[in-house]
Symmetry: C2
Subunit: 683 residues, 2 copies
Amino acid sequence: MRRACLLSTLLCAAAWAAAPSWMPLPAVSTPGQGALAVDSAFRVSATGAGGALLQGAIDRFLARLVRQTGIPLSAATPAGGGATLRVECAGEGAGYPALREDESYTLDVTAEGAVLRAPTARGAMHGLETFLQMAAPGGSGFQVPAMHVEDRPRFPWRGLMLDCSRHWMPLEVVERNLDAMAAVKLNVFHWHLSDDQGFRAESRKYPRLQQLGSGGQYYTQDQLRHIVAYARDRGIRVVPEFDIPGHTTSWLAAYPELASAPGPYEIGRDFGIFDGVMDPSNESTFTLLDGFIGEMAGLFPDPYIHIGGDEVSGKHWLASESIQAFAKEHGLNGRDGLQLYFNQRVVGILAKYGKVPVGWDEILDPGLPAGTVIQSWRRADGLAQAASKGFGAILSSGYYLDYLKPAGYHYGIDPLGGAAGDLTPEQQALILGGEACMWGELVGPETVDSRIWPRLAAIAERLWSPREASNVDSMYARMEAVSRILELAGARHRANSGPMLERLSGSGDLGPVRTLAESVEALGLGPRVARQYTTLTPLNRFADAVAPESETARALLMAAKRVVANPADKADAAVLRARFAEWAANDAPYQAMAEGNPFLMELKPVSRELAGLGEAGLRLLNAVVRGLPVDPAWTAWEKAQLTRLMGSKEFPGAEVRLAAARPVEELLRAVKKPVRTPAVPHK
Amino acid sequence: MRRACLLSTLLCAAAWAAAPSWMPLPAVSTPGQGALAVDSAFRVSATGAGGALLQGAIDRFLARLVRQTGIPLSAATPAGGGATLRVECAGEGAGYPALREDESYTLDVTAEGAVLRAPTARGAMHGLETFLQMAAPGGSGFQVPAMHVEDRPRFPWRGLMLDCSRHWMPLEVVERNLDAMAAVKLNVFHWHLSDDQGFRAESRKYPRLQQLGSGGQYYTQDQLRHIVAYARDRGIRVVPEFDIPGHTTSWLAAYPELASAPGPYEIGRDFGIFDGVMDPSNESTFTLLDGFIGEMAGLFPDPYIHIGGDEVSGKHWLASESIQAFAKEHGLNGRDGLQLYFNQRVVGILAKYGKVPVGWDEILDPGLPAGTVIQSWRRADGLAQAASKGFGAILSSGYYLDYLKPAGYHYGIDPLGGAAGDLTPEQQALILGGEACMWGELVGPETVDSRIWPRLAAIAERLWSPREASNVDSMYARMEAVSRILELAGARHRANSGPMLERLSGSGDLGPVRTLAESVEALGLGPRVARQYTTLTPLNRFADAVAPESETARALLMAAKRVVANPADKADAAVLRARFAEWAANDAPYQAMAEGNPFLMELKPVSRELAGLGEAGLRLLNAVVRGLPVDPAWTAWEKAQLTRLMGSKEFPGAEVRLAAARPVEELLRAVKKPVRTPAVPHK
């Protein structure tokens, strides 16, 4: 008998431990009896009207299933009714994905076979991803548990912004991240194609843009078209961003005559807010923008073009007598007045080419045309402001991946949280969703994947799944599995780390370096300030190779919590003891191999602290397991050492955080509890 | 002052610890003072006549150096004399690599710059690989130590045979293995293109061959040409093998009329010696072979074509009345007489197209034309036999990679060892070198790299470096570093393992699986018999994911030896203790996650033994470190447990060997020594 299991039921700890490691969680799922075997006889058939879009998706699905199982599978569609998975698609849907298109699907898996039904090819693609996330070892090989799934997205705009200007991202980086986006049902690729540090799109009308603005690193028009098609095939819209009037140093390197202050300009090497800005008083500015936007409108079929608009330094505008005269003449008030005028001109050009603007929240103004979408990045309440003024709104505040905050932090931020919760239903309907932002200051092609994944999967779930999917422990428990799926889908967040560590370690045994790497977390934009980074700084250090979140530290923290709750839990205690012993033993070989190695040298103090944590952990674990009162001598040692260890988790010089402290702190808290150690009360 | 340092000097432990992790070792190297920095200003210039071959090699060199350092480098050649590395090449050499071509080079690195000189582009390529193996962390980033190198190969034929018939190997598998071959200075790719299980080369004259003999998996003629060019660009000759008259079931599936017994024939799915064999009494056999060899001669520029000739089952020949009549008529004696006749006809065809035969040692016969090369695989003395009869000879006996023997085993086998040592110098000159053989029964595209690398590097060193380079510890110490270089060159022997383990583990924490995986070694052809393997059996199990040699076990064995030699060696003792504790703690979580997982279930007994080894290791280590006599009670325990643990290292069901026993055994031997434990003498 089937037992209906709504999402909220799935989220009780007992239930989700047995459920597939989905991410995002489907809206509704009902477990069935048994499981469908995935073996070399597995076949897929498509009926209905899914067309070429669906067939392409099925081909990719089979290739992925081969990678996920290691079983050679045939792509041949069975002639009769012999398919293991039948895909029934009512229609192909729009040739290019449309905002608010029906992305729903239902999936029924029994021990005998599976049926996926969807109104559009896009919906069917989501269902195929759901199926892939269900395939797991079991039975005599791989299998998919029997299940009924009904699913649809909560928000229609679920995106990733990728900055390809500050660091060049080769085509394959974009491709593999599109593959990974599709795996977690994201549907908007916001392509940040120009900024102070590089102009990345080929213009045939204004070739100086890429000739002088890109350092030779740009996407040709064929490549731009290729990415649009690649994304479209995966149900993803491409919204190109050409950030104007600020963040335009690369434009001005090509066309200094459009600048608000005399040139020459060179593409930026360092980061921050540049003063270079387009001249709104110069009609040539709009002539070029008209030609350029017209050209891009022919390459990008999406109705939206992102015009940036953020962080305009008013310095050159205020310093220019002619611009000031122009402002006075047109009644424009200061920097904001000039930018509003600029925006209105640009919006007019967009309209001419049938395009609707998206812009960062600085552009918000009642004078914008209906349909404009505001991307809220500075404050969470910017979203509510935009919606209350009748504009579409997408949330990025709280979704900045470059700060390398934990997935749980992003997961807790909801587009309908805060002020947006007080909006009318009509206004809330204007809140389209959100976009994670991957800014490019501190990432290159080798490291960007690990700064996006798997944390973006948590944001993807926030934007797709019902709001009730909010249990952080459940999210983390599934994220680890989905992280592997993402890697098999093409992302390289895990694959790139090992070779980078090997490279910076030289020829020595990697063991001590890996132990240290698993115990720390990379610091992101903000705290990562040990060097004066420019676009030319190699991103080849220890901090670049390690993940923003330590899975090891998280697993040990969970183990420590279980041991504290149940000191008789021998298996977890043994795992903790082995790991603490490893840390304690790690420092001597680490120090030896770090000698003379500039990449390892800067981690020497971190390694010493890790060894201290290992020793402290061993002592604390024994105290917890034995339920001993802390003896006075031990406490003296603890006072001198532990407090210091616990307080020093960030190492700005090495640009890492010592995540290993977390399980040790958990044990420390337990022995410090007055009820456990009544003889020696602590504050 | 420079100190001349011949190879033999380099090989004393103290010296090679400081030397670059070269593999193969250069003939002569002399360390200098200081080091050359590799930073973003690094530039390469080429002078002389290296031509397009050299320029291509330099472009690849720079891309590799970027991967090895993470430093963005410019490919622009400096106009003046500002290059960091100057390549001076006297000539490009032959358009296609020739046997016995001059492959020598000299390399001079000082703190100010480097000069690479070579008579041919091929020699320069080898020098570039030597340079890449010298780049290591140091100074303020990466650097290359000052050094004078004079280098040339010991043998002119240094190859890898890759069987692409039993399991299909997509083009990129061949490409990346050619890249890795070039990295260790191998120069012959022996491409096993046909066998019972598949015919892999497109014939336009006889398209039935690939249509009926390949299951759709074959290289088009464009792809064959592409691989020849790809290899040529890397200094590698391509010797195609079409194995006849046995191992021809895939031919006979297309042309049953050429068989010695009535068909029909289907391409083989299982392995072993098939009875299907071409009919030497049928003139049509030679008509087809003439047409086919003529076609292939136009695709493969190498003067050699490999005609196989191994493992001919005489069954059908003996059973056929017409063939027996033919034999009698021509005075051919049994199977060998018929095969000799067949070979002579084929050799005649080869000669017509200007090709020289290579064959497995079964073909050895005085009637073969001068220049024929015999590949000795059955017995090491086959090499001496062939050379003593005036034929060229290459060694493969002892170089079979599919048995998954340790690198040290292959390293100890010398083409001029054994009977070959007694040959005259003229006869020894006929011994051209050797080829490692990677047969395809138990490898697929995902696993073949880990069965080739890094062990092939040891064979490459045997074939390139002076014979005196024979210290196994030195070899292993360098192999670990070269293994990383090989991966950066393109091989995936390390990269593929993690995802395979993740895949078979499902969604659980990978820690316990990885700990077990690092402690075991895969069994190869021979001992791997737990299943009836066919070409359709998925190669997705634990044994497929783990390496043939455990680097972890080796590192721990070395640590155990150091502790035994010096019980006060606290750092090594701590490392051993941590690892033993990890093993002891590993079994409980492993058993839990293995429940219901068919891939992990079969390793349950191995995990239990590993835990036992961990506990034994901890006790033995304490005894060694404290220099304690073994107490009687402990000895009783030891007798009951340890002996059993030590004796059970192979697990045929799981198809792995528990390498973790080695360091524990080392400690056991130490406490068993009568001099250390006089109270309780052991035998």
